[in-house]
């Protein structure tokens, strides 16, 4: 991990280049992702942070090509997974990739399991889909094994989802995602729907499993506490773009330069040190993705907005090797 200098192409598992995603709805075109660039290295946890509507989930769904059919479209950009462009793949190739090399955990465990199939059957299905030669006994042994890994007694595989609690359901979903030992796990707000105590258990478990299986992970969240606890790299998204990116140390170091939005995000967290009565929220709302403002997308909400910000999209400011900010304040 410490060998940052020896970084070669080999270390990069997922490389998203200039990704654009739009939704063609009947009354408007919605620009959800607008030129996203991120790189995920092998074995690392990459945090994707942002408000609702920043395009985090859209990015995740694009990687698996699970955007809503007919509506979602990737007009531009590359998603290189181990050097191969996912955007250009056929549906059959995609199906092979999904669940075996790239898995995804969805936000709400309550609704992400099929109510009429047993938990064991749903996990077994993931194995059977990708290892068709495996015997029934081997599949069942693997189901038992993965259930044990996520802390569920294997005997419960004959039960149905409604017999599990929320936290247990999320464990099942995680088991399902990990059973084929994927190289990349995308976790879309895996703990948002859970109690705080259960949240921690699930996160700990995910960390351990990630180490054990040597899986890379993209963790989508809006909880900066989770980011600090779990992630190696962080990208902060706003209106479909990465506006600041770096290691956790870059992002969480208050002495380094930051994008006004990042400062706003941290300002909206309650702090134990200062004695303020009120939190400082980032004023305003995420811009309407069907009608994005010109210039910098953040300018209508930005405290340091200048005339340039309203006209020209900001370039990239590189602060050290790992830290990147997209803002006019620095790119003079």
């Amino acid at each position: 991990m410490a060998d940052e200098r020896n970084q070669t192409q080999e270390d990069i598992l997922l490389d998203i280049q200039d990704l654009h995603v739009k939704y063609n709805t009947s009354d408007a075109v919605c620009y959800a992702v607008n030129g996203l660039n991120i790189q995920v290295k092998r074995g690392e946890v990459f945090g994707l942070v942002g408000e609702t509507g920043a395009g985090k989930t859209t990015t995740a769904l694009s990687i698996l090509r699970l955007l809503p059919q007919r509506i979602g479209e990737i007009p531009q950009g590359k998603i290189l997974f181990e050097g191969q462009d996912v955007v250009q793949m056929s549906e059959d190739q995609m199906r092979e990739l999904r669940g075996s090399h790239i898995s995804m955990i969805f936000q709400d465990p309550m609704t992400s399991l099929n109510p009429v199939l047993t938990v064991g059957d749903q996990i077994a299905e993931a194995i059977e889909t990708h290892h068709q030669s495996m015997s029934k006994e081997e599949v069942q042994a693997k189901v038992d094994h993965v259930l044990k890994l996520v802390g569920i007694p294997p005997a419960r595989k004959y039960e149905y989802p409604h017999q599990f609690s929320g936290g247990m359901k999320q464990r099942v979903v995680i088991a399902m995602a990990l059973v084929c030992e994927p190289r990349l796990l995308i976790a879309d707000e895996p703990t948002t729907a859970l109690d705080v105590t259960v949240q921690n258990q699930v996160l700990d478990m995910m960390s351990n499993l990630k180490e054990e299986l040597n899986t890379s992970m993209i963790l989508i969240t809006h909880d900066l506490g989770i980011v600090c606890q779990m992630c190696d790299h962080v990208a902060i998204m706003y209106a479909g773009k990465v506006i600041e990116q770096g290691t956790v140390y870059d992002i969480f170091d208050q002495s380094k330069p930051h994008h006004p939005y990042t400062i706003g995000l941290f300002g909206s967290l309650p702090s134990l040190q200062s004695d303020s009565k009120r939190l400082k929220p980032v004023m305003g709302l995420m811009p309407d993705p069907t009608d994005l403002p010109p210039g910098c997308e953040f300018h209508p909400r930005c405290g340091s907005c200048t005339e340039t910000c309203k006209l020209k999209a900001p370039g990239v400011f590189q602060d050290g090797e790992t830290h990147m900010i997209r803002c006019h304040l620095f790119s003079k």
């Binding site: 698996l64 699970l66 199906r95 092979e96 990739l97 999904r98 669940g99 075996s100 898995s103 995804m104 969805f106 709400d108 609704t111 992400s112 399991l113 099929n114 109510p115 009429v116 199939l117 047993t118 299905e125 993931a126 889909t129 990708h130 004959y158 039960e159 149905y160 409604h162 017999q163 979903v173 399902m176 995602a177």
Partner: protein, 312 residues
């Protein structure tokens, strides 16, 4: 589960009791003359009067009803005033026809409408979907007697493939069953379609896709089972109705089922036969509804849990 079934069977008692009171009251309030019906046109007025007296026709309504129910509990539904045949025998003679017709109807409906409904849901807003919507609309708007006659004209008279009327052989059942199912195919297909579209949007379908499961398996293994619940309810209800005899279809095709039996009984004010038919229909309808509810439990484990059975 057993407790649930037992409870449901016990609940059938007040239902059937209520129906018997209502029907007996209504039919007793209409004018009629059972003595004349039994003895025929040429019997003397005295004989008819004596007959009415012995049948208890002039007794007050509650007494008549009480006597009827007393016999019913002994398993005696009485004899038809008109034909003199026991009611149970008449129903037993007619029921197989109705049962076969209703079964063929429901099987044909299911075979045609469920796969079609799934197909148009998967190919939503395609040409096929639009065509099927129009076809469904046309069939829903058709009166059954008209469609029945049309079928007779085409398949019996012009093409001479199938017999037009009667219920003697299996071939006689094809046209009426087809007529009945064509009318409900539209309804069931549309229902399957909307139910499927609802299910396809669910998160667990996306989860299945994210596992790399093939589209076919997603549809047939994950979606259809979830989408079938409302469809089964409606089909079960339809089956219950047709088991009570589809009067129009049976009349058009001249079939001797429960429907035509009841129709003639009502026309001649044959009280024991009317009562027998109606009670029998209510009974079969309740049984079918119960069976539908039990089938829910088999399809959806959550409902089984609600019935009070321990896991599946």
């Amino acid at each position: 589960m057993h407790k649930f079934i037992l409870k449901r069977i016990l609940m059938m008692i007040p239902v059937l009791l209520g129906i018997s009171v209502i029907i007996y009251t209504i039919i007793s309030l209409t004018p009629g003359n059972p003595g004349r019906l039994i003895l025929g046109e040429r019997a003397s007025a005295e004989a008819v009067e004596a007959m009415n007296e012995s049948l208890g026709y002039y007794d007050p309504l509650p007494v008549k009803y009480f006597n009827y129910m007393k016999n019913l509990l002994r398993g005696d539904l009485g004899t038809s005033w008109r034909s003199g045949v026991s009611v149970i025998e008449s129903i037993g003679e007619r029921f197989p026809t109705t049962l076969l017709l209703a079964t063929m109807d429901i099987v044909l409906t299911a075979v045609m409408s469920i796969p079609l409904g799934v197909l148009v849901a998967v190919k939503k807003e395609s040409l096929l979907d639009n065509i099927m919507t129009v076809v469904a609309l046309v069939f829903t708007a058709m009166p059954s007697f008209w469609l029945g006659m049309l079928m007779m004209l085409v398949f019996a008279l012009s093409l001479n493939l199938l017999p037009a009327t009667g219920s003697e052989s299996f071939a006689h059942f094809i046209l009426p069953a087809l007529t009945m199912s064509l009318l409900s195919v539209a309804q069931i297909m549309r229902m399957t379609r909307s139910s499927m579209l609802e299910v396809i949007r669910q998160d667990y379908i996306r989860t299945a896709r994210a596992k790399g499961v093939s589209e076919q398996k997603i549809i047939w293994r994950h979606a259809v089972r979830n989408a079938l619940l409302p469809v089964i309810t409606t089909m079960g209800n339809n089956f219950g109705w047709t088991l009570g005899g589809s009067v129009i279809t049976e009349t058009v095709f001249g079939m001797s089922g429960i429907g035509t039996l009841l129709l003639t009984a009502v026309r001649s004010k044959d009280v024991p036969l009317v009562m027998g038919c109606v009670l029998f229909m209510s009974f079969t309808f309740s049984v079918v509804t119960l069976l539908v509810d039990i089938s829910y439990g088999i399809i959806d484990p959550r409902i089984k849990a609600e019935y009070g059975g321990r896991k599946g």
